[in-house]
Symmetry: C2
Subunit: 89 residues, 2 copies
Amino acid sequence: MTTFDVLVEVRLRPGIADPEGATVERALPALGFGGVRGVRMGKAIRFEVEAASAEEARRTAEELCRRLLTNPVIEDAVIEVSPPVRQAT
Amino acid sequence: MTTFDVLVEVRLRPGIADPEGATVERALPALGFGGVRGVRMGKAIRFEVEAASAEEARRTAEELCRRLLTNPVIEDAVIEVSPPVRQAT
């Protein structure tokens, strides 16, 4: 088995209200960030998965998103599986 | 000026307690995810920056992280600037 590093980005779906992002955006002009727009706040979740292959690690991450990490009504997830850096012995 | 898409991942620094990640991790064995470990919860913040170059967009994002998006005592940020997909006219 190999240990894969996984990064899941959980984002609000387009059209879903994002009050936290809107609050950040309202603060920007007063701080001098005139050219910043469209702020959307999401979650970045990192974890390690023991799996036989990157494909299996990705399937585990997808199942984990579906069952625990996201609310599919308002959120979607982008999963990134990094190449293994260590082998479990 | 060009519009760049920026993704900022805000992570808790190593060694900083992550109660949200620990709670997710405690739930995993009961859900059948035995091979998942080291869950860390962070933020994924997306926004658009109007800038003359990718370097300027990155500098704006770094300043924004420093002043508004992160608490540098407990968090660090990874900034990813995507190549522009549209030109402002």
